[in-house]
Subunit: 322 residues, 2 copies
């Protein structure tokens, strides 16, 4: 009873921040993302009657208590769904730095979900895999389907799922990630979501999110980069404004993040297809088109404070790979 | 018919951002500030029947068309009030850099108002001087009274005035300004105010401002630095969040601003009395108490990206000096 699955990280164009239901992880607002090709978590799950407890190793080392607990909790939800009474040994590996604003929890819980279900010999719909992945990490629901993905809020566990709105080859966007810091962030996005409601601004951000979702889809379907850039940067600014006005405030931007954001606005004014978005971390995702990706990558690399660059085209969905 | 007046710049603890009435410059929300001792504009006004037009020189050089127009417009309001039919020669000088987040327009229009009225031989109440100064620049209304000052919104020109809520010697706060850039900002605060309503967040900021005003006064009257720091930093974050989410967005923070803000939070966690606030510019005002001012000044000076430091205790009101 063993399977290996691979899932991609994703970057949201319209952000998820704050829950309508914390236990079920129903999001306060719908979101849109693209999967990141080549930015993956690969996870092997072995269900074994000889095991007394669930175990987890990440990148060839035993995981800490907190991470193991979180995975065990997710496995428990899968056991319940599949009526399974076995413990699992989970082995997971990322090919990118964790906890620094590149959504490792998204790819991790997507890969874990797909591997655990396959190892049990079960076959679930993509829709159901997405809703189960969501229980582990909200954004993991978006790493199940391929390409460009929308995650609707939903009013129940079954309804709150992500689905493909355009295939990966619809538009050749590229995410050039300026890695500012690979250190672990002080406040993870999981705890951060809980603070969203303490901002005076969260209600207004949530209320206007459906309008931005519609604008983003319009831009995406019409491949209108100028329209896309305007709504994506605005949405990122809104989320970080909510973070910075929460109690206590969350500041994920670092000095180099601000510098890179400023440069991206300048480069776009020069005529390059590029806009920025930042998750709950300091790294700046510079979204561009394939034709301008080399130029943007070179410019990002040359900036002071940028430690490295990760470049990703639009990726596929989570899949069993062994 | 000549007089010289001096007025201090001020730094707001609870910020003014956006107007309820643009023409009258009635603010969307009330604000609180302290005057900055030693950070002054000195202005001489000469009403002279030989003059064909109003003229303005700033720091010993003829001012540009835009600045001259703005001063002429203000002089026109004063002529109307005093039933005066003369043009004026205005000579003004600042002892601090202009247009970089230190409110030069506040001290400038306060000094201009007091000098112009005195030069005409008129005597107006502080209340009336404050409301006239407000027509030139909203925050100038707060540079008329001495010490710690509140500016109420008011429903009319006469009502929207600033007044002292505590004398300068009530609490020995010190503003240690980390000057990040002395360059002129791309979007001045005057135009910026007009963009406030384009942010989804301005309504919420304005709605919660009276509560913050009350908290700030409580902290100020009780000399409770921890409470003061919490509300002052939060209010600054709220204003910048509105700025960054306006269309188009206004980013006044620079990388070094972010670095300094982060340091200030750390220094406070170490036990130092210090909190930050930023106006419409990159400079970081580090508010501290007299006992910790030397330590804070030394730390701010040592930071990368800080070009210079301006240190100011609580200042007096605008006054005729010659």
């Amino acid at each position: 009873m063993q399977a290996t699955a691979q899932a991609h990280s994703n970057i949201a164009f319209i952000k998820y921040w704050g829950n309508a239901d914390d236990a079920l992880r129903l999001p306060a607002n719908p979101s849109i993302s693209m999967n990141l090709a080549g930015v993956t978590t690969t996870t092997t799950v072995v269900w074994d009657s000889a095991l007394q407890t669930d175990s987890l190793s990440i990148n060839d080392a035993p995981a800490d208590e907190k991470a193991t607990q979180r995975v065990a909790q997710h496995l428990e939800a899968i056991r319940k769904r599949l009526k399974l009474d076995l413990k699992a040994a989970v082995t997971s590996g990322n090919n990118f730095p964790m906890g620094a604003g590149i959504a490792s929890s998204a790819s991790s819980f997507a890969a874990l979900t797909v591997a655990a279900v396959a190892a049990a010999g079960a076959t679930l719909t993509e829709r159901e895999l997405s809703s189960i992945a969501r229980l582990g990490s909200g954004s993991a629901s978006r790493s199940i389907p391929a390409g460009y993905v929308e995650w609707c809020t939903g009013m129940s566990h079954d309804e709150s799922v992500a689905y493909t709105i355009a295939p990966a080859d619809h538009w050749s966007l590229v995410d050039v990630i300026g890695v500012i810091s690979t250190g672990h962030k002080e406040v993870g996005s999981r705890e951060g979501h809980g603070t969203a409601i303490t901002s005076d601004f969260q209600a207004a951000r949530v209320a206007s999110a459906p309008a931005r979702l519609a604008q983003c889809k319009e831009a995406l379907f019409g491949k209108d980069f100028a329209k896309f850039a305007a709504v994506v940067e605005h949405d990122s600014n809104l989320m970080h404004a909510v973070m910075m006005t929460s109690r206590p405030p969350l500041f994920y931007w670092q000095p180099a993040s601000l510098l890179l954001m400023e440069q991206v606005r300048r480069w776009r004014a020069e005529g390059l297809n590029v806009c920025y978005t930042l998750d709950a971390g300091p790294n700046v995702h510079c979204l561009t088109t394939a034709e301008h990706a080399d130029e943007i990558e070179a410019r990002v690399r040359a900036l002071e404070g940028v430690q490295s660059v990760i470049r990703a085209a639009v990726g596929g969905g989570a899949a069993v790979v062994g």
